[in-house]
Amino acid sequence: MKVRYFPGCTLKTKAKDLDRYARLCAEELGVTLEEIENWQCCGGVFTTATDEIATKLSSVRALMDARDHDAPLVTVCSACHNVIKQTNHAMQNDADFAKHVNLYLGKDGQYYGEAKAIHYLELLRDVIGFDTIRGKVKNPLAGKKIAAYYGCLLLRPSQTMQMDDPENPTVMEDLIRALGGEPVVYAQRNECCGGYAVLEDAAIAKKNSGKVMTDAASHGADMIVTACPLCRYNLEKNGTGEIPVVYLTELLAEALGVKEDAHDAQ
């Protein structure tokens, strides 16, 4: 099966592993991520103001592409996913907003939220299925205590994201289990890492990421897994350095046995 794929800026530069393994793993699991043409940066954050129109157009164009290809729009980066999903939700539910957006779009066509935006994790869980994945695991992550870090963007606002229980999410834990690892459940996994504020105020990021790392460590995590490049950056910068932070696609690639292949190919 083929899905439309929105990689996002960071995955083309600093987070190439997140992108590369996402594609390899999907391919291994029978799904081709087709990168949409001429995609534009999502903007990193969804501006909640009702009169912010232009900042959401790139998401709408990506969604239109998915609609025109009659396929879901998949993103791996939590930030891109958050922006696109919230934009799609607004297009479906806020008639006034949709009207304004369509005025901007003009001859590019009209859009009313017909496409479905899903995160890579939802692709794994809802389309491919964890049971299928379990069956394809070549190198089980046995004995590894892995702490999933969700941060904010995957889960919130929960009414819109509809990804998982925002206070007690299980999708990554279930994935870790499917890959043969042992998930570590800790309360700070859905708290913020400090996000973009790191640019202005490194202390905020340090404080928040520090809390997350400490909590994961105190629960005996060997490793932290995340879907967001900025989370990874903040956690790595502010951890004690003992617990590695990896992308979920890296972990998946390792378990599916496609990681070495990729290295070989290089």
């Binding site: 996002g8 960071t10 909640t48 640019l199």
Partner: protein, 129 residues
């Protein structure tokens, strides 16, 4: 309509938030990761917008401490959505001429080798127009 009435009307409109729904439980502030960095806390944003006391908020550094993590939005028992108010007030500031908080020229100095692009675009979108 006084200036502060107009400001309040603008904030309510752009945020889409009704501060009258607030029952003053303070859960937003209890859950806020940037609480200590803020001069005005999420529950104060709600209350001060309700009373039309918006100018102090516009002058406050608090605007740039919100991480837009939506914890206050998700955990609010009354569905007030305080983060949207913070954003609306911040927009009211940075949309003004010369209101930008972050300038592109400032960015190189703030970078390190690992900083993801995502951080730059997000910060620019949040802090500048």
């Amino acid at each position: 309509m006084t200036h502060s009435d107009r400001l309040k009307e603008q904030i309510l409109r752009t945020s889409g938030v009704n501060p009258l729904k607030c029952m003053r439980c303070g859960k937003c502030s209890a859950t806020c990761p940037s609480y200590d960095e803020m001069e005005y806390h999420p529950h104060q944003f709600v209350y001060m917008v309700e009373t039309g006391d918006i100018e102090p908020l516009m002058k406050s550094e608090s605007l740039y401490k919100c991480l837009t993590c939506f914890a206050c939005v998700d955990r609010c028992p009354r569905s007030v959505e305080p983060a949207k108010l913070v954003e609306a007030v911040r927009l009211a500031v940075i949309r003004e001429k010369g209101g930008n908080r972050l300038h592109t020229d400032d960015i190189p100095a703030k970078l390190d080798d690992d900083m993801p692009q995502q951080a730059l675009v997000s910060a620019l979108r949040k802090y500048s127009k």
